[in-house]
């Protein structure tokens, strides 16, 4: 990574779009690592934590989905000024929870949220950042996985390509020798959801909600049949699979991809 800064440290910026800002907040929770991170990089924009601004960035981390016309203008502007752009968290990577609205009539969605004032708030279907501008790397998850975020950050500083896992959460669960969540009679999307979270939910008595999106070669029918084996109906299986992944599972709204 070339350092454009007088102190030699890469300039890093964080931006939030349509999201709960939980991923940004998650970064402030690295109490043990926070000072080490500041040794490595120069944070030039981070609304959640500071108010300085800069003209250009070595790495721009984008949180949240693109869901208004203003979002599009802003993301174009950021992309122009950023050497590397990383989508941070599931909203930015796939539209995340926000994309649930895409499966409903837009009028109805706007009316529910804004009532009679709906015309004052122009809204478009929730899209991943990659539907609008080129995204160099993705950190998945809701919220994003801290170890994976650190891996991406360290790799970029070293000038290496970060290794983004493209296999199922099952792998991480099996490495830990967890008892299978499905075996226990619970619902689980671990077999089709991307790893990288170290199977944190199944390791702590929860099931995998699929918050990191499906593996790239998802067998959707196979997944539904699998869940049926454990007593979940097709409707329920699809509903739960879509919670975080409407855009990735509904072919008709695969924004900008393919």
């Amino acid at each position: 990574m070339s350092q454009s800064e007088s102190n030699g440290k890469p300039k890093v910026a964080f931006f939030d779009f349509t999201s709960c800002e939980g991923c940004q907040l998650n970064k402030l929770n690295f109490e043990n690592e926070l000072l080490d991170i500041l040794e490595l990089v120069d944070i030039v924009e981070f609304r959640e934590a500071m108010d300085d601004k800069a003209e250009e960035y070595d790495i721009a981390f984008i949180e949240g989905s693109i869901s208004t016309p203003t979002c599009i203008e802003r993301i174009y502007d950021i992309r122009r000024r950023a050497k590397v752009l990383v989508a941070l968290g599931q909203c930015a990577v796939s539209g995340g929870i926000n994309a649930m609205k895409n499966a409903m009539p837009m009028e109805e969605v706007q009316e529910t949220v804004y009532g009679n004032d709906k015309y004052l708030f122009p809204s478009i279907p929730a899209m991943p950042v990659s539907a609008v501008v080129k995204v160099d790397y993705e950190v998945r998850g809701c919220p994003m996985s801290p170890p994976e975020y650190l891996h991406v950050l360290k790799s970029l500083i070293l000038g290496r390509k970060p290794e983004i896992k493209d296999y199922a959460v099952c792998v991480e669960c099996k490495l830990k020798e967890n008892e299978c969540v499905l075996e226990k009679g619970m619902f689980c999307l671990g077999p089709i959801t991307r790893a990288g979270c170290d199977a944190i939910c199944p390791s702590n008595g929860q099931y995998c909600t699929g918050c990191r999106g499906p593996v790239s070669n998802i067998n959707k029918n196979g997944a539904v049949e699998m869940l049926k084996r454990y007593g979940f109906s097709t409707e329920e299986a699809l509903k739960r699979m879509k919670m975080f992944n409407t855009n990735e599972l509904e072919k008709e709204i695969k924004w900008g991809k393919e």
């Binding site: 792998v171 099996k174 075996e183 077999p191 070669n217 029918n221 196979g222 699998m226």
Partner: protein, 355 residues
């Protein structure tokens, strides 16, 4: 017929009641680290280091991870490096006395097969160091719907690789002395006098699960590369890789470098990998040599029934049933192999009609 039973009848045997068995485990714990099956979660089992003899479970269908986890750990640091000093450090491994208690014959067999894989070519020093001072005590088991070991020629009472072998009977265990190490253990424990009455043997006929003798399997794999069975399996497979990771003889791994936050020091780590997973056959530039789940399942089975078998003369599936039992999609290895056999037989019939 059951040839291994004959084997057992030639061995010296002792009777341990439950209390003696418990004392024996305590005795073993004083000798070395004892690794045995324990309950895990609600209804699963796992090999664990024993701290309390009462927690050991000797009547279990199978553990989640196979025995390989003690010789090829799921995650392992291969070396630590310092980018500034340009230096590396390898963690020191010392051979350690370990007693593996309550091992099923197929899991023992899997270690004997892994021995081949890790000794051949460049010997894998970490595996061999961990393997060096290991003693195994077997136990017989009740075959369930997923076990295929007997059909693959590994008898429940196969004692190869063990030092002692336990067979649960009413109110206790028959303890068979298999080798000298086992004899010494029994001697030191003061096991008493061996039983001198002839061993009562159960010669009841077992219903085979496979439609063909296991010795013929490598041969049918010459003919079923293009079988429609692979596509049929791939329709149900979700590619989670559980079958690879929990396989007793799968040993593929991936190596990753991770730097510390100071971006100066770091670790090189090894993880279990599997040929069912997306990145496995992917190369620089993004090309994937086995992009589809049918080609991956085929590769997985060919590794068990043909490729390695050509080198060793032995099947590299031990029939533990983990791939089938833990497959979330419910894909059964027994079913796949039987479908392949059907397909092969059909091909043969057609060939005859053509003539």
């Amino acid at each position: 017929m059951n040839s291994q039973y004959k084997n057992l009848s030639e061995l010296k045997r002792y009777f341990f009641d439950q209390e003696t068995a418990r004392r024996f485990i305590s005795f073993l714990m004083k000798k070395a680290e004892v690794i045995a099956p324990h309950s895990k979660g609600e209804k699963s089992f796992a090999y664990q280091v024993t701290t309390d003899p009462d927690q050991v479970v000797l009547n279990y269908p199978r553990t989640i991870q196979p025995l390989k986890k003690f010789f090829l750990p799921p995650r392992e640091t291969l070396l630590e490096y310092d980018l500034e000093k340009n230096a590396i450090k390898k963690p020191e491994l010392e051979p350690k006395d370990r007693i593996f208690l309550g091992v099923h014959s197929y899991d023992m067999k899997s270690i004997l097969l892994l021995d081949y894989s890790f000794k051949k070519g460049n010997p894998e020093s970490n595996y061999l160091t961990r393997r060096e001072k290991s003693v195994f005590i077997g136990v017989s088991y009740q075959s369930d719907e997923y076990h295929l070991a007997e059909d693959l020629g590994i008898d429940i009472h196969d004692v190869s690789g063990f030092s002692l072998f336990l067979d649960p009977v009413e109110k206790g265990f028959l303890v068979f002395e298999v080798d000298e190490v086992g004899a010494n253990l029994l001697n030191e424990f003061d096991a008493g006098l061996p039983i001198d009455t002839p061993l009562e043997q159960d010669f009841s006929e077992r219903k085979p699960k496979l439609k063909m003798h296991h010795k013929r399997l490598p041969q049918i794999f010459e003919h079923i590369y293009h079988s429609p069975v692979w596509k049929k399996v791939a329709e149900r497979c979700v590619g989670c890789g559980t079958c690879n990771l929990l396989c007793a003889t799968c040993y593929c791994f991936d190596v990753r470098d991770e730097v510390e936050l100071n971006v100066k020091e770091g670790k090189r780590e090894r993880y279990w990998d599997g040929c069912m997973l997306n990145p496995f056959a992917e190369v620089a530039g993004g090309e994937n040599f086995r992009p589809t789940l049918d080609s991956r399942t085929r590769h997985r089975l060919y590794r068990k029934f043909k490729y390695l078998t050509e080198q060793t003369g032995e099947l590299h599936c031990v029939g533990c049933g983990r791939c089938s039992k833990y497959c979330p999609a419910g894909i059964s290895l027994i079913e796949i192999v039987n479908d392949l056999i059907d397909d092969y037989n059909k091909q043969q019939k057609q060939a005859v009609t053509l003539v």
